[in-house]
């Protein structure tokens, strides 16, 4: 069975400082990895994905994530945090095999990011 762990329920960072939101995963075979963000009273919004290729993936709003196969991690990063980045962030994994059941995303519990002015 596949799983995702987001070890921090909340991350606080000062505006302008770099931020990291941690994610580790477990899946059979090669993973497809995703980050989503949920702003208050809004749905989940896609940020970025890793499928194959370069381990550093760049996404929306200046976010990036680094895939580390040996550590089974996919941490989300941003060089300089903005107050508007404050939201709930979800990491998700999908199996890379084809067939029934392979399309479902498995999510972590989410990490609340608060950027302090």
């Amino acid at each position: 069975a596949q799983s995702v762990a987001q070890p921090e329920d909340q991350v606080n960072v000062a505006e302008g400082n770099p931020l990291t939101v941690k994610c580790t995963y477990s899946v059979s075979g090669n993973p497809y990895l995703f980050w989503y963000v949920q702003y208050p009273n809004r749905g989940l919004q896609f940020l970025l994905k890793y499928i194959t290729g370069d381990n550093l993936v760049k996404g929306s709003y200046g976010f990036e994530a680094e895939f580390n196969k040996s550590q089974t991690s996919f941490h989300l990063k941003k060089p300089s945090a903005l107050v508007s980045d404050s939201a709930l962030y979800f990491c998700a994994v999908r199996a890379s095999y084809s067939g029934a059941g392979s399309y479902q995303l498995t999510f972590g519990k989410g990490t609340k990011l608060s950027v302090i002015p």
Binding site: Y36, G43, G101, Y103, Q104, L105, F107, K109, G110
Partner: protein, 115 residues
């Protein structure tokens, strides 16, 4: 292009009543998914449609939940009869069909409260 829409945004019902949630996917998306987030827990997969066919319903919690997608367009998720533990946010998502791995586009969710 319109995104995934869900109706209603909120629903408050009493235990034993019936509720029907609706999802309209992005036009042209053959894949439609339902997920649920119970308070403070992970977002959990419920089921996956390809057009009007159920491709994977392994996440459906029990037979009180019935999902349909007539004509392969919008989908409904009916809970009958509702129980207290059904409270949560129900998300719908859609994605295109293709050889590449497409991200799933999520709707705003329906917050269901069962009293």
């Amino acid at each position: 292009e319109a995104g995934v829409t869900q109706f209603p945004s909120h629903s408050v019902i009493e235990k034993g009543q019936t509720v029907t949630l609706r999802c309209d996917p992005i036009s042209g998306h053959d894949n439609l998914y339902w997920y649920r987030r119970v308070m403070g827990k992970e977002i959990k997969f419920l089921l996956h449609f390809v057009k009007e066919s159920k491709q994977d319903e392994s996440g459906m919690p029990n037979n009180r939940f019935l999902a349909e997608r007539t004509g392969g367009t919008y989908s409904t998720l009916k809970v009958q009869p509702a129980e207290l533990e059904d409270s949560g946010v129900y998300f719908c998502a859609s994605s295109d069909v293709g050889g590449r791995v497409d991200e799933q586009f999520f709707g705003p969710g329906t917050r269901l409260t069962v009293l």
